[in-house]
Every structure is written in structure tokens, then in C-alpha cells.
Symmetry: D2
Subunit: 401 residues, 4 copies
């Protein structure tokens, strides 16, 4: 009897060829495809997997699960790898891995497979996640193993009567979910060249954005965006709606030469209109609701969490500890943020909160002022005392020489 | 014989009144005014100081010194307090304090004075700096001491025949140097209100920016911007030119509710067209020239340096140690960055460097690829080993229960 | 009718005098004394407070509450300020403040008072805690306010017939709880002098320790020490028992020149036999049960938590966020640690845990080895790739010059 | 003509066998042996290399270079990996790699070789260093490649007439230099077992230490220990002398279950009498000479530097940047530290410095006190203001519910 393998199936050429290739390695292939917000036609993908040889084909709408378990935490931690990349693909890999393992266990499969090459980050994220969830499962990476050129792969597909997608001549390598879209390869490999318009899909170029701004109000409850202009949405619904609205105004284009985990620099282009709008609004709400020492330390947690996720360590015990910190901070993040979407900007124009620590009576320079100006004298004296003593001692010491 | 005091003189109402007030405290007042890039009419200020009672009046063009000693370091460390504020005023205070102390020592003064109130950060920056540079000098803060209302101050000025500025009814409190302009007070004290256009001066509103982009090339040598579109400039000249050019395109408006050192939150509006353009370009050049582990640790230094400066500790021995780290990193930051200025954006479209670590042969997905894909297998195995062992042990352990 | 004030009462001279002094300020004084493990005679203290003028006298055995809420967290975070000081007094202040506020609210008092001077850390800890718990309460610090010399204070005490303690000529200033004992002043103020034996109380000098070691086994459950040599104890009981046992062997003497929050350096001598023994044992158990990336990041949390507590910010919302991280990590810290107490050392000789990630089959160099040596080749290739590319580029670049 | 290879030669069995094995791979072997303070008989090793087949044999006394370039920086950064391990072997690898590369370039060799296995950290350190210094050189790791059992290796050695060392039955794997001695394997692989006395060589057991303490004075100039009891030494000489003296008193035994870079935990035993004594003395001198904010941030640099070195990234451009920070801090670290060596302890009893920031007049509680106690009132008010506002707002908010 053949061993079963669960393959992360996208419907594209690589994973369709992988079905055949795995069959030749003597596996029964079970395909598994998730929709994490890229707007896949799941029925089509399901059937195609069977057409190219899978014995079974799972399709899963995981949009809301992805929003709740991954996008929300990325939002609340303002997760930007190297200050720029909102972790789009890095967020979906642990969820896909989890589904693969669940299906493998349910189906009695002995292995899982993914379509990553040998030089990206995603292979690490898949394989470390799978090993964490079920160390008994073998992991096979057909694309990494077969090492074919594009031409050889197409030749193989033709021989095996695997349908060749019509956009095969696209030079780009794309991944997408509701938190954004990533693009690499082709002309993008030259960091001196501006990305051409065709590299983008979710956003208008600034030149093509409306001349009239949209001003929206986003309401947060305990750090969760719950309403847009007063209307409640599911989290995935709200993010997708913002992708449309902010994308129309050209918000969220990112052009990044980044350091991959596998030791190389690569140039990537991202579009994250909803994510960038939400992160900006959320940060401004934190600016009025978090106390200084918390606001100054939270970025340390955010940076570590971002790196842990980028580096494929979602299932490390470090992750829940970082998330526990994060969760504690969000109870105060309630309120409304007014955002103007215009010419590629998401400009926060106003923010208010029942938990606001901004106190106009302390801040004002009018006669309403309640701040005790004399307290500053004593404060400065002790605050500057170490520097003063240091200078005094060193000056005395240098005079000796 | 009267004791001498050196007053940081701006030419405005507060410090003009302070001249008189200090004279009443039995001081001979020596005025000192620096131009750090706000475009002051130094001759006018010099004469005005004498007119309102100063026995001597120093004016100093410190633009290039400020650029070299302060703005450059802020640029190279991408110094943004709380991720947003480019330290505009915080940068000039240590330089002004140094000049005050130098003049005090030269003139045999026993005290120095500044025009800050008791609730801002600048009083701390002045007083800690002065205490570090010469702990023997007394420091007097007339505005903090006299505690007058606006009306009382004007009444006093009229009595003393001190000229009242014509823009006295401006609700705003403004500070400016070549690294930017800060504005607070008035309607800005309500964080739910959008800042009105009159609050801005260095930048066009996006609605009023040109419909044609300017695309510029900035050349860096060891982290220093030396050329704009191929033409060499002094550093202060280059920053001021960029303030004009990027300001015309609406770049660099910042609206920030920040945590002051003295324990309150305040809402400030900044305009930093040159600073924001340069920081963005410099960061992108670092993205291709700094090795990963350096790029990932440098932000720790940057954050600490930013806080040290914001908190008035420029003359702490921690500062030169942080700067020594920074300097070591800049030797690699050579090259050219192409920036598109458009509708409030400074978009880096291309970057190139003789020190670039981006290696197209390692990054490419074409047949030019020189990356060893098999190496990834071993890498992943060891990278994920701790997580794998952890999961294995905890799963085994949880089965026992 | 007089206003009521709740005074943190120790039974010593300062707070006894404070009762009288506060009565002269027209307060009714309610005394409150906690036992947090220093072994106070609470009946005696209770009566003395009444004798010197208090209208009411509370005494509270808070040992177990202190152990559970404060000492445990200090243990689990290996809290050592500046790498040396186990936060003894800093831990008890928030608890005392909480009790003072509770009694003040119950008794309808309008103020609370503490016996701290104006140059220590404890005044900050008390006053920030009280302001956080009930910002309406006034705080009075009699010793800081009256500014008497020692002689003046004694003169006042005699006039008011307040009993003068017999050890009044002791030059030391001491604070103690179950987490340790602190001592300052007198000869200790000269950091070139070794602390004399009389400065110590909880520990034997190494010269006077037994020549036979005690070897003990400490069992931890989820990071909590629950058993000593197989016998269960309350947490406070276990710590106090270890203070005796480890103190006999001279464990836990610390001589520290530390940076106070109020800007000065001071020299302190601490004795923490139980605390140091437990922290060492706990850390070694973490060494085998925490995964590398967690073990490497936890110290960042520990350092911040330690500073927050030292700096009097226990009631900041940063604290529960840090504790939430900490708590997540402790679920793995189960097992037994064998410790040899001998000549001032607490030497961990062995550690074992059902959650141990130490895997002899991976670690061994015998033929049992299950580690894949070939994986290292790929790992090294990618791990070193950034450095290699960097060197290659810079060498090529430097040849050009 | 055969290619040449430079082998890091120790004189032991593994590298002697490697000479033969490399000859069979068709290399001419050039042996290279460094003395970094382990007290090797370099003449013997030189001759033995030739005897077992090397065509040339270099021996280098690198003790003082190792002390100046590596041990000193480890001392000044108090480098303890995971808070425990003083980086003994990790420090020597970059120096050995540099010498191998220099000889390879001089001799026209095309490859270098080291004797590491595939599961340790040292292979990473060697190979990353070599790739950084000369990416053209091949690196061969014979022991990792041949994958023999101990018996097979001995069989091979007998066939090739390679002398078998008499201590071959030792179960331990040892590395040593002047910064300490590391030991692993054998019974040490069980972390529940106490290390047997035979595992130690540089230190007496506490049971066997003298009953009379030695009290020494160490003088530092700009962070460099220059004198012992008033007598000047070379740095390597001073460290070796302290190894003897402190080792006699049992100082510096460390028993550590550590996280290796290659993903496993291993148990190691270290002896570092000189290193631990010097680090402790140096830290105490910093405690009185470094200003608070510098003392609190320096550990961040220290931890990163320690990890960079442990992880084999000495030749990363991050290292010189970290060292530039470190160097800036050491100008103040001048003075004398008195240390009592006794029963396994190096107890700092006194410290004094011309740069001391400890100010008895500020610290004292006697009438000499110059500290302004009133300043504390204002300080506390502003220091606690964020927490106070936070509590006020949240309490008001929670009442609404």
C-alpha cells in the first residue's frame, strides 16, 4: 500500500507538477488549499487538484481564522520586519502548516509537502512549523529537490498533460493574503530600477488616485478594530474592505531590500493598504492610551515578535510569552481614530479614547494649566545629577594631568 | 559691582522681557542669539537685545556647526523619538547651552538664563547641559520663575517700553532650526482636531503640491549626504535646499501626541521636509550596504541615542559611546539614492552602492542563480532543532497527564 | 474634627517621633505595621504605637502574601538590580503602600505618611504607589520635612517622652524582609573599606561556616519552589528555612555600590541567603527546560522588570504586561535541583526535569549519537553567508582604492 | 603538483590522523600550532607534525596577542554567554583562523583544515572566520568527514604508525587557553551527576583550598589590568599568574548546560580562575566610575558582543562597532580593586578610583550631607505623574461600567 502525502496546493504550475512528481515517488497525494484572503476560486482549485492526480482535495476558507489568530496580533504589535515589511507571507505559513498536519493526522499520511524553493524563507517557516506540530511527519519539498529549470518543468508538465497557466510568462513571483501582497523576481531584482506599475495589483499609483480624500473613522475595542464609520464588521471583512478603500487611494506600497533568514538580501515589493492603515491608526490610539514606560518598552516586544515570526519560529514557546505581554497592553486601546485617505497617505487627523491619558489641563499653556511648574526644578536637579557629578569629576581629573 | 548673566536671547517677547526682569534681579545681561537654521535676521536681533537693555549682544551663525555636530548624527541614527519626532528642538539645546557657557566663561559671568517654562523638555536639556559643562554656573529661568499670565507679561512689557511683537495673538508656540519646525498650543491642544493649515509653514498641504514630481539623486559618502543631483553642497546648505524642495511637495508633516520627559503627554506638530527625505534615503542605502546582524542591532543604538538626546543627556558619557558605534557603521554607507518627491511622499525608487551586499547572482530566480539550495536543508534542520525538541518533550509530557 | 492619617509604623525611633510630630500637625494618627518576614514582635509594635500617641494601631502578618505576590516573581525573574541587588526593600514597598491605602480608605483618612528621608529610593516607591492606588490621598514624609539632625530628633523625643531605643548608637540603617536584609551608612560609606562582621546578621562569615556541606534538593512546580528535601512548605516558610540553612553556610552576602533612582551612588551591603540559593537553583532548572530563543530573550524582560520595581513603578501598567510574559515561561520549569551549600557557595550539582530539553542522544559524543553531523555543513554555509558576502565586497572595494 | 593545505594542528590523535588522511586526499599538509596560553610544548608539537607526515610545521606563541586582542575585550565586556560561560574556546578560534589564512596565503595553499566534529560550535567559528578572511580558500573538516568510531580511528592510526597518546582512555574532550579551560563528554553528559574531581585541572576543590586567604590589589588603567600588588605585568603574564593564584583558592569553576549554536543543549564544565577574578574586579571598578545611564546600557552591548563571538561572527562588521562603544567606556575605568581570594570566592573588599563618581558628601547620612532633600519632592511628582494619570483615568473609566 502506498504512503499518503498531504501537499500544500495552490492551483499553480509548481504544485500541479508536484502532484505528478510525488506520485512518481510512490505517494498517494492529498491536496490541501487554504483561502487566507487572496480571493481564490476554491471550487476551481479543488477540482484542478483532482484533475492533475490528487486522490483527495481539501479546500478551506481560513480568512477569519487567519484574521483573528495572525493578522490581529501583527496589527497590535505593529509588526514591520526591518521597519518596513508587514510579514504578509510569514503570517500565513504557520496556519497552513497547522492545517496540513491536521489533515495528515486525520488521513493517516506519513508526509507533507510544500512548493517552496531552497532559497526563500517560507521553506523554513513550513518545515520548522511542521516539525514542531508533529515531528514524526516527513517533509518533502519537490521544487527544491527536482532542481529543474523553468523550461524543464514546462517540458515535464506537457509530457504529463498538466495544464500550463496562461500567465506563465509573468516574470513575477507573487503571494497574497488579506494582510497584503508580496512580489519579487523579474525587473525587481535590480534595486536601482523603480518597480513598474504592472508589479502592483492592490493599489493605485498615486498619479491615479482620486483627487478627493476619503475620511474614515475606525473604532477599536481592546485593540481590535471593530467598526468602520460606525458599522460593525468581522475582522477579515474589515481588513478586506480597507484593502479596497485604502488601495484605491494608493496607500501601502512598500519597496524593500530585505535580509532573508537564509543569508541573502532580496528586493521585494509589497502592497498592504488595509494593514498599513490599521497599524497607523492603532499606533496613534496607543499614543494617547499607553503610559510612557509601557509605550517605550512595547517596541522591544514588537521587534522580537516580528523577528520570531519572520524567522519561522511561530511554534516556539517564545511566541505565546510575547503574545501574553501584548495582550495585557491592549485592554486600554479603546477609542476612535479619524483617518484621511489621500494620495497614498493614511493620515491620522484625530484620535479620542475613554482611556486617554492625554490631559488637556496638564498639557495646556493657557490659564487652565494644572501642571506644577515648580516640581520641574527638583526633577531637573536629580535627573541631571549623575551627568553633573561625572563632569565635575572628570574635569577635576583632567586638570591634574 | 553687578554680576553678569548670559541670556539665550531669541528676539521674541519672553526673552526681551527677561532682559528687563534680570536687570531688576541686579544682573548685567549679556544676550546671546544663535542661528541654527531658522533663518533669523541676526543684525536685527543683535540690535534689539541692546535696545531692551542688554549690555552686550552676541549673535552666532551656527548653521554648519549644528549640521555637522547634531543633524548629521540624527540623520545617521534615523533618530525619531517614539518612532515619529525627529528631535528638532532637542538637537539644538546642547549646542546653545555650549555657546552660553563659552560666553559666560569668556565674559566672567556667574550665571546663564534661558526662556523656557516649567513644563517643557527644553528646560531640562538646557540645565542638565549647562551643569555638565560648568557646574559652577547658576541657571535662572525667568519665565518659569515669574509665573505671569500672558496679560501680566504684556502689562509689564508696556510699562518697561519693551516692543510688543505684532504676531502676539498667534496661539502657537514655535521652534525652528534646519532640521525642522515644531509647533504646539492653541487648537493643537485638542488631539481630536486636525491641525489647521495655518499651523504649518515649511510645507505645502498635499492639496497644494505640484502635480509633477521632482526626482532627485542624493549621494552619500560614509553616511554623509554630499551631493544633490551631482552638485556638492555644505551639509547645512544641502539640508536647507531639501527643506525647500521637499517642502514644496508637502513632505515631512508629522502630527504627534508624545510623552514628555516631565511626565505629561502633549500634542505637537512638526515639519521636517529635508530631515525626513534624508533619513529615508539614508536608511535605504543602509539596507543594501549593512550586513544583517548589524542592520538588526543598529536600531537598538538608534533608539537609545534618540532617548538620550530627547531626555537632555547629550553631555552624558553614554552619548560618545553610542556615537562611536554609529561612526563605525557609516564607512560602508556610500552610494546614490534616487528619490521621487511627490504629493507628500519621498519615495526611494532606486539605490546603488560600491559597497552593496545585494548580490543579484545570489538573489535571482533565473538560471544565473549561484545560491546553493541544498544548504537550506541542513540549515533548516539545525535552525528548527530547539523548537522540535521542545515540542517533542512537551507532547510526550502532556501525554503522561 | 481632626483629619486622620495612616502612618507606616516600624516601632523604631523615626516613626515613633513621627507619631508625635503628625499629631502636632493636627492629625489623628493611625499606625500600621506589616511583618514581611523580618520577624517582628507585632504585639510589641502594636502596643508601642498606641503608647506614643496613635489612636489606633494595625499590625498585619503579610509574610505569605509578600512571598506569593512579590518574592516569587523576583525569584522567577532572577531580579538583580545592576546584576547584584535582589530588590529586597524595593519589593516590600508596593505591598506596604497598598495596605496603607486600604486602611486609609477603610478609616476615612485623608492622608498617609512614611518614614523615609529625601535621598533614598523608598520615598519614591511609597509615593508613586500611593498616588497610583488613590490619587486623592495626601502623602506626608515627616523625616524629610523636619530636616532635624540626629541630636535634634533625640532632643525632641526626650521632650515628648518617646522611648529611645537602646541600639541608638548603631551607625547602620537596616531594612529586612524574607527576601533579605539591607544595610547602609556608617563605615560602609567608604567603598574602600571591607564591611565589618557586625554589619551582617543573617549569614556567617565564610571563616565561621561549617566544614561539612549540606546538600539539599529543591523541587519546583511551574517555577514555584514547593519542596525542600521532599517535604512541602508554604513559600514563605521555605524561604525562611533556606535563610537559616544557607545563611549558616555564609551564602548570599552582597557588597554593592549602586546607582539610586535619585541620582547618587550609594554603597549597600545585602544578605540574601534564601533568595540567592533559590535564584541559582531556578536558573539552572530553566537552563535545561527553556528553549534557546526563550532563554536568550527572557533576560530582557527580567532586566526591565527589575528596573521597573527598583524605580518604584510596580503599579504601572507595564508591570502586569511583563509579569504576563514571565508567567507563560514558568509552565516548563518543573523538576528537582540538587544544591550543595558550602563555604559561602550554593553550588548546583545536578538538575533533572520531566520537561528537560537536554537530550543525551543529541549531545553525546559516544556511538549513541543521533545528531546529524552533515546538517552542519549547510547550516554553516547560510549562517556565514552575510559575513562572507560582506568581506568579499569590501575586499574588492578596497582593492580599487 | 599537489595542492597545499594548512591544518590547525594540536599534536593530539585527531589532528595527527588528519595529517595522514589529508595526504591520502592528495594534499601536501602544512601543520600550524598556536600556543594561546595552554602551556604547550611547541618544540614537541612542531616535530611531531613532521613525524606524522606534514611537509612543514609552524608553531606560534600567540599568548600576548590573544590576551591583547581577545581576552581584554572579553574582560571589559564581562562576556559571559548565558550569564555563565566566559567564551574560552570561542575567543581563540578567530585568532587561529587568522593565522591559518595568513600561512595559507604565504605558502600558496588552496585549502585549510580543522579538527572539529559536526556538532560543536567551533566548526562554525572556524569556517565563518576563514570565509570572511579569504573566501577563496576551501575548508576541510576531516573528523566531520570521515565519521569513524573511536575504534576505527585507532585502527587507522595503528596502520599508519601514528603514535597513540597514552591518555587515550580519558573520556573527556578538553580545550584550554589563558582565559580558561573547558571540558565536556564522559560522565559530564549526565546533568544530574556532579562533575568528578578528575574533570578539573586548573582549580582546587573548595575542600582542598588553603585556610588562609590571599588578598590582592589589582590596578586598572583605562580598563586594562596592569599591576598586581603594585607590580607591572604583561597582560598574558598577569592572567596566567592569576590563574595560578585564584586557581589555588578554587575560584572560577563553572558547570553549565548551554545552548549551542547548532541547536542542541550540552553540559560543559569550565575553569576560569583568572578570568572570573578579573571580571569581578573590573565590574566593581565600573560600578564606581560609570554614570548610571551608561552602566545600565553597557550590558546590552556586552550581551550582543558575547553572542556575536559565541556564534562565530567575530569578523562581522558588527563586532568593531560594538568594540568602538566598549572602548569609549573604558577611559574612566582607572583605579585599584582589592580582592580577597578564599574558598572559591574572589570577594571585592574595596575599590577606589580617581574617576570615582561615588561622592561621600552626596551619599552620607551624616551631617556632612550635601544632597538637596527637597529636590526629591519635585522629582517624585514628575516621575510618578504618568502612573498617577493612568490610574486616575482607568479608575474613572472602570466606575462607568
Amino acid at each position: 500500500m502506498k504512503e499518503k502525502i498531504v501537499l500544500a496546493y495552490s492551483g499553480g504550475l509548481d504544485t500541479s507538477v508536484a502532484v505528478q512528481w510525488l506520485m512518481e515517488q510512490n505517494y498517494e497525494v492529498i491536496a490541501c488549499c487554504l483561502d487566507v484572503g487572496e480571493g481564490k476560486d476554491l471550487d476551481f482549485v479543488k477540482q484542478k487538484a483532482l484533475n492533475v492526480g490528487a486522490v483527495k482535495s481539501y479546500v478551506i476558507d481560513a480568512k477569519e481564522e487567519f484574521a483573528q489568530e495572525f493578522a490581529l496580533m501583527a496589527l497590535q504589535s505593529h509588526a514591520l520586519y526591518e521597519g518596513k515589511y508587514p510579514l504578509v507571507s510569514a503570517l500565513s505559513r504557520p496556519l497552513i502548516a497547522k492545517k496540513l498536519v491536521e489533515i495528515a493526522e486525520k488521513e493517516g499520511a506519513t508526509a507533507v509537502a510544500h512548493g517552496c524553493t531552497g532559497k526563500g524563507n517560507d521553506q523554513v517557516r513550513f518545515e520548522v512549523s511542521i516539525a514542531a506540530l508533529n515531528p514524526e511527519l516527513k517533509v518533502i519539498a519537490p521544487v527544491r529537490e527536482w532542481s529543474w529549470s523553468r523550461e524543464e518543468e514546462i517540458q515535464y508538465a506537457k509530457e504529463k498533460e498538466i495544464p500550463i497557466p496562461i500567465n506563465l510568462d509573468s516574470p513575477y513571483s507573487i503571494d497574497q493574503n488579506l494582510w497584503g501582497r508580496s512580489n519579487e523576481c523579474g525587473i525587481l531584482e535590480d534595486p536601482w530600477q523603480a518597480p513598474p506599475e504592472e508589479a502592483y495589483d492592490l493599489t493605485n499609483s498615486i498619479e491615479n488616485t482620486p483627487d478627493i480624500a476619503d475620511t474614515i473613522e475606525i473604532e477599536f475595542e481592546k485593540g481590535v478594530p471593530t467598526k468602520l464609520n460606525g458599522v460593525s464588521y468581522t475582522l477579515s471583512g474589515l481588513i478586506l474592505m480597507l484593502n479596497n478603500l485604502a488601495g484605491k487611494h494608493g496607500v501601502g506600497r512598500i519597496d524593500h531590500v530585505e535580509n532573508r533568514l537564509v543569508g541573502i538580501k532580496s528586493r521585494e515589493v509589497y502592497e498592504c493598504p488595509g494593514a498599513m492603515t490599521l497599524m497607523k491608526a492603532h499606533k496613534e490610539l496607543e499614543d494617547i492610551t499607553l503610559v510612557k514606560e509601557l509605550a517605550h518598552f512595547k517596541p522591544v516586544i514588537e521587534k522580537k515578535l516580528t523577528e520570531v515570526i519572520y524567522d519561522g519560529l511561530w511554534y516556539s514557546p517564545l511566541t505565546p510569552a510575547l503574545l501574553a505581554f501584548l495582550e495585557q497592553t491592549q485592554q486600554y486601546v479603546n477609542g476612535i481614530v479619524r483617518v484621511k485617505l489621500f494620495k497614498g497617505h493614511a493620515i491620522v487627523e484625530g484620535r479620542k479614547s475613554p482611556n486617554s491619558l492625554y490631559n488637556e489641563k496638564l498639557a495646556t499653556y493657557t490659564k487652565e494649566d494644572e501642571f506644577d511648574h515648580n516640581a520641574a526644578v527638583g526633577f531637573i536637579q536629580l535627573w541631571g545629577l549623575p551627568t553633573k557629578v561625572h563632569s565635575h569629576v572628570q574635569q577635576k581629573e583632567s586638570l591634574k594631568v
